[in-house]
Structure formats: structure tokens, C-alpha cells
Symmetry: C2
Subunit: 174 residues, 2 copies
């Protein structure tokens, strides 16, 4: 059995650009800043442009309530959504993990990229980007975490899965 250990890098716009967007306010988004509401509000504009395949598709807003993952954790599969983008924004105030992969058809452990997202950072997977289902970290209290999720609703299959060979031991261990 071959063993691969994944350790996270900090999430930055530059490091994540091949996979999607990082959604955060402040210094890293100042090129998108517009002052509105008579000076009351900073609008960090269009940090994500939602991708929809068809004019009949709808963008929808959901809440994902995720159990915290127990580390070390074995990675068995990845998924992608060929008909739309999908964004996650934490609303419970906890950091979380983001696991994505290169745009290839047959994934290997070398294609995987793991990031540690801060509680103030959301992410958006571009359409058809390989990613792991949500990886909540429950914080010190090991609590359930909520994410606001914006994705696509419409006709046709919008989820493809890839399962790694069972002889591969791919593990996240922060």
C-alpha cells in the first residue's frame, strides 16, 4: 500500500486561482471596494460571479450544516459539478479545510491540493473543478459548522465522482 499524507497550505487568492475564488473583505480585496450607503458600507463587489450552464438554470442559496471531521481522515473520493459553480462561506466562525484537484480526468494523489481556510474566508469552486465534500473543523468545541452555499439548480446530472484505488492510503493530518 502506498501512503500519501496531505498537509494544508494557507488559503490565498493567488494559490487558489486555478480552482476558484477566495471571498474575503479587507486588504486582499481592495481592488473590488466601492463605498455605498452614504459612507456607511464598504461593498467588496462581485467577489464571485456565479456560473450557470444554461439560461434555464437558477442560482440558489442553501445552508450546509456539517459535522466536524475527525483527523487523521482518509480521502477516498472527489467530486465535481459540470453545470455550475459552488461557493461555501462559513457562518459559524470556525476555520475549515479545502481540498481541490487539478483538471484531469484520472486523479492521482499528486493532483491534490489542500488549503486551510480561515473563518473569515469563503471559497467558490469554478464550474467542473474537482473538490472534496465540505471539510468542517469543529474548533475547540468540536461543534457542528454551518456554511452558506450558493450553487446551481436545474435539469441534468450536475455531480460527477471519482473514487481512488482502495490500495492508496491518502490521509489528511493537520
Amino acid at each position: 500500500m502506498s501512503t500519501y499524507k496531505l498537509t494544508p497550505k494557507p488559503l490565498t487568492k493567488e494559490a487558489f486561482a486555478a480552482f476558484g475564488d477566495v471571498v474575503e473583505a479587507g486588504e486582499t480585496s481592495k481592488e473590488s471596494l466601492i463605498m455605498i450607503n452614504g459612507g456607511n458600507t464598504e461593498r467588496y463587489d462581485s467577489l464571485v460571479k456565479v456560473q450557470l450552464e444554461s439560461p434555464e438554470d437558477r442560482a440558489v442559496i442553501n445552508i450546509f450544516r456539517a459535522q466536524p471531521r475527525q483527523l487523521p481522515m482518509k480521502i477516498e473520493m472527489m467530486e465535481r459539478h459540470p453545470r455550475g459553480s459552488q461557493s461555501f462561506h462559513p457562518v459559524s466562525g470556525e476555520d475549515y479545510l479545502v481540498l481541490v484537484a487539478d483538471q484531469v480526468e484520472t486523479l492521482t494523489p499528486e493532483n491534490l491540493h489542500l488549503f486551510l481556510a480561515k473563518s473569515t474566508q469563503g471559497i467558490n469552486y469554478h464550474m467542473n473543478t474537482w473538490h472534496h465534500p465540505v471539510l468542517a473543523l469543529g474548533g475547540e468545541l468540536n461543534k457542528v459548522c454551518d456554511f452558506l452555499v450558493v450553487d446551481r439548480k436545474g435539469e441534468g446530472n450536475n455531480c460527477e465522482e471519482f473514487f481512488f484505488d482502495k490500495n492508496l492510503d491518502i490521509t489528511i493530518d493537520v
Copy 2:
């Protein structure tokens, strides 16, 4: 001068239905609950269907960073977006106020409805619904509050404003 004092009601789906959606997980959204990710995650599905006027429009995700309002606060105007819905979800963990109005062309103080939203509740204004610009409450620390905002980007004017007569004294005082 005529004086009107606005005091908030608790935000519930039923009370807010004429104006838009309440975005929250748990008991009040159980009719939208789907289990996903092998039992790890509760998906509260399609709590908002984003409204866009034209097939050329895009849904976009922004962050609004709002200064906390100082109460009592005078209400001078309202606005509406005729070409798309607009949602707000707090990500800084603070309660906030939501002020909406009936679908009439000439607003009076009697048309106004004020709600107190919990930090775990987002809201979505349906297309063309009168509302006040974001009303952050800074909590005990009187801090700046961030909201994830999903709205519409596209051609044409998407903001109409209504200004109350200056002789009307309309005040929020929680």
C-alpha cells in the same frame, strides 16, 4: 412635525413572507432538509432562488462591511431593486435590523415594517421590495459587521429610491 417610532418584531418566515425569504437552518427549515455527503452534512436546500430579470444578468456574491448604526436613528429614505433579488447573511456573529415596506409607490410611515434578525438568520429581499440600506448593530463591542450579499449584476438601472418628507420624524429606537 409628525413623529413615528419604529420598534422591531422578531424575524420569522411567516411575518417576512410578503417581502422575501428568511435563510436559516434547523427546525424552521426542516421541509427543505436533504442529507448529503454520506451522512456528514444536512443540506437546507434552495432557501433562496435568486431572481434575475434578464438571461444576460449574472448573480454575484459580495461582502458588505457595515458600520454599526447608532440608535435612535432617523429614517429618511428607502430603496428597491427592480431587476433582481438581494440577500444578506451576517458572517460576523451579530444581530441586525431589517426594515421593509409594502409594495406601494408612495410610502407612508404606516407602510414600514421593522424586524430584529438574529445572527443566525439571513434574509433575501424579493425583486422590487422596498427596504432600507443595511442596518448593522455592532453588538456589545459596537463593531463593524460583515454580510455576505448575493445580488444581480447587469445592464440598466437597478436602484430606485424614495425619500420621505423632511417634516416626518420617523425613528428607530430599539
